[in-house]
């Protein structure tokens, strides 16, 4: 089987599992809904203010929610020693990693697609800048979160209390990406300045960490 074939097979398996149980997506959805409501209560912003803070709120909500999906990426494979089976199989480690990262990307993208209308309703959002750029920021930003998240989730498998470990590893490294997403979203919503620099930074972040993950994942998978 080719490596893209393995990637596709793993991805389809994960999507099927998620489609049947809907564990990750349900908890992510409810979690980010709670964040939207609680933030809305605690800040009670006007339309002008919410344009300024919405970028931060949206991305923090998605980041926290994404951790839920990321945490169960590999935990699922621990049952019945699936991961060990994978380790001894000749399948390339990177195709497994890519399948997991793409799977997580799809989960978080679905979450974003479902939650964004709610954010718009609750915070009366309307973009003053070029709105199509938001889509670009969303795609790049989501990939930035899930590529490192998938990688660190595999790393935190080897630790005690791994559910707590993942955010502790992921958040410090994600600071530039998060800053870029928040600032890009804000500049598009307010239309005050161009989001170009932040989009370029996100592209750089995505390229650097995708390469690093693909380069180092085999080490992490076989770390014994």
């Amino acid at each position: 089987m080719s490596s893209t074939g393995i990637t596709r097979a793993t991805l389809v398996k994960d999507l099927q599992l998620e489609w049947r149980s809907k564990d990750a997506i349900n908890s992510m959805l409810f979690f980010s809904l709670l964040v939207v409501v609680i933030f809305s209560f605690s800040f009670d912003p006007t339309a002008e203010e919410s344009r300024r803070i919405a970028g931060g709120l949206v991305w923090v909500a998605f980041l926290f929610a994404a951790v839920v999906a990321l945490n169960q990426t590999w935990a699922r494979e621990l049952r019945n020693q699936v991961l060990d089976a994978y380790r001894v199989s000749p399948a390339p480690a990177n195709s497994l990693f890519l399948a997991k990262a793409i799977g997580n990307f799809i989960f978080v993208a679905v979450l974003e697609a479902l939650m964004t209308p709610l954010f718009i309703v609750f915070y009366n959002l309307r973009a003053i800048g070029p709105a199509y750029q938001l889509l670009l920021v969303a795609v790049l930003g989501t990939w930035a979160l899930v590529v490192n998240g998938t990688f660190f989730a595999a790393m935190s498998l080897r630790t005690r209390s791994r559910e707590i470990m993942l955010p502790l590893l992921l958040f410090p490294i994600s600071i530039p990406a998060l800053l870029a997403m928040v600032e890009a979203t804000r500049s598009i919503l307010t239309g005050e300045f161009s989001a170009k620099f932040w989009i370029v930074l996100l592209v750089a972040y995505d390229v650097v960490f995708t390469m690093a993950s693909l380069f180092l994942f085999e080490l992490v998978l076989h770390a014994e």
């Binding site: 935190s156 080897r158 630790t159 530039p176 930074l201 972040y205 690093a212 770390a223 014994e224």
Partner: protein
């Protein structure tokens, strides 16, 4: 090793003492900031030592991944721990200086934020080491160290751009610097470099001994189990 370490220790102590004298007595008081400026003689050398140790951590991590040499891993651990200590000193002394001079404890300035993020990354490195089970720790930690280092330029550029859109406090760079100030500064810079190397070395020795002890204990318990059978 048995001779070099005490020599380095004595040298460090002498340099630190001389540096303290230079910083507190010989160097003149800065005109606008007053005596609080003297914290610079410790603040900047600590930042230098922290940066150096984080760099050592990165190099040692790469060496470990390449050669699988457990000594390199011990160096990486020691450098990260001592580096975090120096970085903490930087983050504590900075606000002490900033409060009287800038009028604020903290600002999201480029250097401050970069130091804080660096500190966060290396604390997460130490937490990871603390929480992972022994056999896999070195590999995972080395990988995280590489990720952290890759992150630094991205953090730098993001904050640099973030901050250029906002007003920032001006660092007093104008005017000439008294040579006695420079002297005190460089003495302390060398002293802190020696101190960093010294502590890191001691920590490295402790780690190596600790590992040897664990190995011996494991071996002994094995032999005991055999004997009782």
């Amino acid at each position: 090793m048995k001779i070099t370490f005490p020599i380095l220790a004595v040298l460090t102590a002498l340099l630190l003492g001389y540096g303290l004298y230079q910083a507190l007595v010989v160097a003149p008081t800065e005109q606008t900031m007053g005596d609080v400026q003297r914290i610079f003689y410790y603040h900047v050398p600590s930042a230098w030592a922290a940066g150096l140790l984080f760099f050592v951590n990165f190099i040692a991590s790469i060496v470990y991944l390449w050669r699988r040499n457990s000594k390199a891993d011990a160096v990486a651990l020691a450098a990260a721990e001592v580096g975090v200590i120096f970085c903490t000193i930087v983050l504590v002394t900075g606000p002490i200086w900033a409060r009287p001079v800038w009028g604020i404890w903290w600002t999201w300035d480029l250097r401050l934020t970069l130091t804080l993020v660096l500190w966060l990354i290396f604390v997460s490195y130490l937490v990871l080491r603390r929480f992972s089970s022994s056999g896999q720790t070195p590999v995972i930690a080395a990988v995280l160290s590489i990720f952290g280092t890759l992150d630094i330029p991205l953090v730098y550029f993001s904050i640099w751009f973030f901050r250029t859109q906002h007003p920032q406090p001006v660092m007093g760079n104008g005017g000439s610097i008294d040579p006695r100030m420079l002297h005190a500064f460089f003495v302390n810079l060398i002293a802190f470099t020696c101190l960093g190397v010294l502590i890191c070395w001691a920590r490295y020795r402790v780690e190596i001994l600790h590992r040897q002890l664990e190995e011996t204990q494991a071996l002994e318990s094995l032999l005991e189990a055999r004997g009782s059978r």
